[in-house]
């Protein structure tokens, strides 16, 4: 039992729903028609292209190509994290990329090998789809965590220096900031976990249910992916921060000012 097909004509009718926000925007002068159309068009083009690529990736199902594709997805995620963190790309790109790759590949492979027990662990349907879910869902947390760590130390400059002057070791000095940034990053994830199923039916479940699989399986997959998301968020933030420390701090333990844009 697969999901009922939607024809192109039906999809165009779905677009008619947009007339509601457009009319509302006109009447109340909210001024969102332009951004609405831009985002909608961008989304459609991206999805059509991705559908096209994925179709071939799934058909070829080539190990190297699958790994390369996930690697590319990680690169895009890393760029968007760095851009939102107002740090200089050339300073943190490599350590951040290594950290994200370790976290994403490590967890996806763990799920594929140990949990789902696939025969072919680089299967595009699992490697790319699960990897994409991990990346997409941990993106916000990563942005919040990494940005908070560096900007808080920058903002608290005097307090941070006072801590160093007290004789704190480097680890002692950064520890409160590390803790604070990870807690902040995971707050939205924990909140969505707590309401999951009641307020929101997550994408993973929706997909599996519409795909015609049993509800039990959908729930098991959802639980698995949420565990993966939390773990990959913590791992990638922590690794990224730890690996960028040598670039971002001087030997004296002070924050280098030239890492910010």
């Amino acid at each position: 039992m697969a999901a009922v097909d939607i024809s192109i004509f039906s999809l165009i009718i779905a677009i008619l729903l947009f007339s509601i926000p457009i009319v509302l925007s006109r009447v109340y002068r909210i001024g969102l028609i332009k951004s609405l159309l831009y985002s909608a068009i961008r989304m459609s083009i991206q999805l059509v292209l991705i559908g096209f690529f994925l179709k071939y990736l799934f058909v070829w199902n080539n190990t190297i190509l699958n790994i390369a594709w996930l690697g590319l997805m990680i690169l895009v995620a890393v760029f968007s994290v760095i851009r939102s963190s107002s740090m200089k790309t050339n300073k943190v790109l490599i350590p951040a990329y290594i950290s994200f790759s370790l976290a994403t590949f490590g967890i996806v492979l763990f799920l594929n090998i140990v949990v789902i027990r696939l025969d072919y662990v680089f299967d595009a349907r699992y490697l790319i789809v699960l990897g994409g879910m991990l990346l997409g869902n941990s993106l916000r947390g990563n942005i919040i965590g990494i940005t908070a760590f560096y900007t808080n130390i920058k903002k608290d400059r005097k307090k941070f220096l006072y801590t160093l002057s007290l004789g704190a070791s480097f680890n002692e000095a950064i520890f409160p900031y590390l803790r604070e940034s990870i807690q902040l990053a995971l707050k939205p994830t924990f909140a969505s976990m707590a309401t999951m199923g009641i307020v929101a039916l997550p994408g993973m479940m929706t997909g599996v249910i519409l795909g015609g699989t049993s509800l039990e399986l959908a729930i098991k997959y959802q639980i698995m992916i949420m565990i993966g998301i939390v773990t990959s968020t913590i791992t990638s933030i922590l690794l990224t921060i730890l690996m960028t420390l040598p670039v971002c701090f001087s030997k004296y333990g002070t924050l280098n000012q030239d890492i910010f844009v």
């Binding site: 005097k158 160093l164 002057s165 007290l166 070791s169 001087s250 004296y252």
Partner: protein
């Protein structure tokens, strides 16, 4: 025990300190004089390793300060910043923060000594239970001074720490530090109680010489 040798410091393309040499002996009580922008605070930052790039050398007990040695040097200096960056929370927690670090770890927190100091600096004990935001500038300065003393270090760097105190308390603070002969105290201050004290040597940072 502290010496600055031919220091050149540039910050944001501006020369802050140029060819400065200065020697400070153990037990000296020194006031640094100069208008804002002549690098008074930078002098402290150099000693504490808070500026990483400059020309020249800074020595502490004959040890050249660099990225390796600075961590030990910091453990021997009690530093209070101009803005007395106390953060948030209860006053007592802020004082105890200093003793959370491994190098300051104590078997027992010196309650008795703290009480004596509170009394000397005329703070009531319930000040400790107040939130830092509720405290006046003068109360904060006195708490910072007490913390610095409790650290049990021999070298003190004070950046404008008596500015919010009344004349009587300023005098008591100065007396307290002068009285300890073995302590080396360097202050940045506009207060005449420091500048005109017979035991305090005044260094004019702009002219780079001692005031006679």
């Amino acid at each position: 025990m502290i010496s600055f040798k031919q220091i050149d410091l540039v910050y944001n393309d501006k020369k802050i300190i140029e060819q400065l040499s200065l020697d400070i002996n153990k037990g000296d009580k020194i006031a640094i004089l100069g208008k804002s922008g002549v690098g008074k605070s930078s002098l402290f930052y150099l000693l504490l390793g808070f500026v990483a790039s400059y020309n020249g050398e800074v020595y502490f007990n004959n040890i050249l300060i660099d990225g390796k040695t600075v961590w030990d040097v910091r453990k021997q200096i009690a530093f209070i910043d101009q803005d007395v960056s106390l953060g948030q929370g209860k006053a007592i927690d802020w004082i105890k923060l200093a003793f959370d670090f491994k190098c300051n770890f104590l078997q027992y927190f010196p309650e008795k000594e703290m009480d004596d100091l509170l009394e000397y600096f005329e703070l009531s004990k319930d000040t400790l239970d107040k939130n830092i935001e509720e405290l006046s500038g003068g109360e904060r300065q006195r708490l910072a001074i007490i913390t610095a003393i409790l650290l049990n270090r021999k070298v003190f760097l004070f950046d404008e720490i008596t500015s919010a105190l009344d004349k009587h308390l300023k005098q008591k603070t100065v007396d307290f530090f002068i009285k300890h002969k073995e302590w080396t105290v360097i202050v940045i201050s506009h207060d005449s109680v420091w500048l005109n004290h017979p035991k305090v040597k005044v260094f004019d940072l702009k002219e780079k010489k001692w005031r006679q």
